[in-house]
């Protein structure tokens, strides 16, 4: 078994003491930011990115990935205990998790969320190990036109899935492409859109943009809210372990959620968020007691929690095999890999097997750590939730300030972050989604490059995108997706998801 051999090799990398330590730090920080509302995995990863530059690339990516799936665990804790989702993928968990807590069953709810996440995370990692190598082999045949079409497809799928107005998401994608192309043009060495600002010559940094759009803007929104006391459920945690009946009701939702989450996670754009909503809907449909949903059905916690964790594993597939990120977190990891001089893509698996298999295996170990870590530490997370916001937000701001400054010891980066913070705040006010902007910004230079190369190949004919079969199929899919929302049924479903996300 080739795969087994690879996985054992990966485990030997992941079990090295330093990598184990980084994995542990990653999942711990991940759970912490998952617990804290107003600080999500995107902001946390971009914050810690500069700090990892001195560590080995494998250890850094192991830690950054740990933050990502750790946050999915942490988010569920706050959903269940205080009805505040720590991050967007845990919104659904509030519906039934909080109701279970109110009935004195917070323990089993937290327990099944942790076990479900563990099982889903594990299944997701196995899926990743099996699916990535053949996909990468296929991707080796892709040329610039295929890559360009794939990126257009990625952005289109993202804007379709993002929820809310597709028109606005497309607008953000266009703007993102422009932001991504700020700086010196590689072919002519002419500065573009720099307005005489020196730091823009190298392009707009991903870290200040992401911290501004997702970190600072969130702080601004909270600062203008009039404070209301958060109610934390006073409930004794007797027995976190779900009983046999709970397991019977949850096991199939967990397995179905894992499958759904994994495949939806591969698609670009909010995989974890969408899959948790879809899983909830599916379980409600399949349940023998749909009327219990929303009143504390354990299947309504088990399914979505599994789905959002499996989605994090699925999201790694396009990044590690095609070099194309599917969400904002993956975009930052792409940036990190570029900095380590390990550009992700079909060759990554063969050229840096320690990174690929090591990171995958570490995710397995990380899931185990999360299970062990989360069950006894829930009391501590609840205490952290009690940190009042007037104290919390200056700390979040300070971390962002230091993170942006230490990128290259330049206060101008902090200024850039502040500008994107204000933009992000206004975008949230006017209901524009930040994810397409970030993704298009990362893909922007790659698109520019592959488009120009394609046109060079064809001698200036745009027909190259329609004469190559793979391109044709991909662009056909783009056209379908763009026309799809016009169907009345689809637009109704999208509107519902958008509304519940908004709440």
């Amino acid at each position: 078994m080739d795969i087994l051999h690879h996985i054992f090799y990966g485990l030997s990398v992941a079990l090295q003491p330093l990598n184990l330590l980084f994995c542990f730090i990653g999942v711990l920080i991940g759970t912490l930011v998952g617990v804290l509302p107003g600080l999500g995995p995107v902001a946390a990863i971009s914050l810690l990115l500069p700090a990892t530059f001195r560590a080995s690339p494998v250890a850094s990516i192991i830690m950054l990935s740990g933050i990502y799936y750790g946050a999915m665990y942490g988010g569920s804790t706050t959903s269940i205990l205080v009805n505040i989702p720590g991050e967007a993928a845990s919104v659904v968990t509030c519906f039934d998790g909080y109701q279970m807590a109110r009935k004195g069953r917070a323990g089993p709810a937290l327990g099944i969320a942790a076990f479900g996440s563990f099982i889903a995370g594990t299944l997701g990692v196995v899926g990743l190990a099996f699916m990535a190598p053949p996909l990468a082999a296929m991707a080796l045949k892709f040329g610039p036109p295929e890559y360009f079409s794939l990126m257009v497809l990625g952005l289109t799928v993202l804007t379709f899935l993002a929820g809310g107005s597709m028109l606005k998401s497309l607008m953000m994608a266009c703007f993102g492409v422009v932001v991504g192309n700020v700086g010196l043009d590689l072919m002519t060495a002419r500065p573009r859109f720099t307005f005489g600002w020196d730091i823009l010559l190298d392009g707009v940094g991903l870290v200040p943009v992401v911290m501004g759009l997702f970190g600072i803007s969130e702080v601004f929104l909270n600062v203008e809210e009039k404070l209301s006391g958060r109610e934390i459920f006073k409930t004794a945690f007797k027995g976190l372990l779900p009983n046999l009946r709970d397991w019977k009701e949850s096991i199939w939702p967990i397995i179905r959620g894992s499958g759904l989450g994994f495949f939806l996670g591969i698609l670009p754009g909010g995989g974890a968020v969408i899959s948790s909503f879809v899983s909830y809907g599916v379980e409600k449909k399949l349940s023998k007691h749909p009327e219990e949903f929303g009143k504390g059905a354990i299947a309504g916690v088990a399914g979505p929690e599994s789905a959002n964790n499996a989605a994090t594993a699925g999201a790694f597939i396009p990044l590690l095999t095609l070099g194309l990120p599917s969400n904002a977190v993956m975009a930052i990891l792409l940036g990190a890999l570029m900095i380590y001089n390990m550009p992700p893509g079909p060759r990554l698996i063969t050229s840096h097997p320690d990174l690929f298999w090591g990171v995958i295996s570490s995710m397995y170990i990380g899931n185990l750590m999360l299970l062990v870590l989360n069950l006894p530490l829930i009391g501590l997370w609840v205490k952290i939730l009690k940190v009042p916001y007037p104290v919390l937000f200056p700390l979040i701001l300070l971390f962002c300030l230091i993170g942006a400054y230490s990128l290259n010891n330049n206060p101008a980066e902090v200024g850039l972050m502040l500008i994107f913070g204000i933009l992000g705040y206004l975008m949230k006010k006017f209901k524009y989604d930040g994810a397409p902007l970030v993704l298009a910004m990362v893909l922007g230079p790659l698109m520019d490059n592959s488009l120009r190369q394609s046109l060079l190949m064809s001698g200036g004919s745009g027909m190259i995108f329609f004469t190559r079969p793979i391109c044709l199929v991909i662009l056909g899919a783009v056209a379908l997706i763009l026309l799809f929302p016009a169907l009345p049924l689809v637009s109704r479903v999208r509107k519902r998801v958008g509304e519940s996300e908004g709440n």
């Binding site: 266009c174 043009d185 573009r192 600062v223 300070l398």
Partner: protein, 154 residues
């Protein structure tokens, strides 16, 4: 009376026109020889079309009549402006004054934005956080934070 989507679409229209004009100055080139402004020109052009579409689709859809200012009704927006002002001051003071003093001052002011703690508590919290973050980022992670007026002393 314009609704919120129409106001924001006008903003993006202006941005998009700016992008297109600048791209033309950088040189759009031809399909044979795409110039530095090629892809941004098309991104800007599509953005123009999309913002116009957003503007006009809101004439048809009369459900949303919320005006621009309703977004800020009943909120303490002044506090955001105050926080932004503090952050701008911090950016300009960071290098000349140094991390320790400017961070301490920033925290003292920020802790009082939403909370009503006693001055002693605020000073103590700010001191602890400044010292803690200095330890973690400067000593442990070696982030080379600016020393400012302490240059040569620490």
């Amino acid at each position: 009376m314009r609704n919120t989507d129409q106001s924001s679409s006008l903003f993006w229209l202006v941005v998009a026109i700016g992008i297109v004009l600048l791209s033309m100055r950088y040189g759009v080139g031809t399909l044979h020889e795409p110039g530095p402004g090629f892809i941004t020109f098309f991104a800007g052009a599509i953005l123009i079309v999309l913002s116009l579409a957003l503007f006009f689709s809101n004439f048809r859809d009369r459900a949303d009549r919320s005006s621009l200012w309703s977004l800020w009704a009943g909120l303490e927006t002044g506090k955001i402006l105050y926080v932004i002002l503090l952050l701008v001051a911090y950016i300009f003071l960071l290098k000349p004054v140094g991390f320790l003093i400017s961070t301490f001052l920033l925290l003292v002011l920020l802790f009082r934005v939403k909370g009503s703690y006693r001055l002693k508590t605020v000073l103590l919290m700010s001191l602890l956080v400044t010292a803690g973050s200095y330890l973690v980022f400067e000593i442990w992670l070696k982030a080379q934070l600016p020393k400012g007026i302490f240059e040569g002393i620490i």
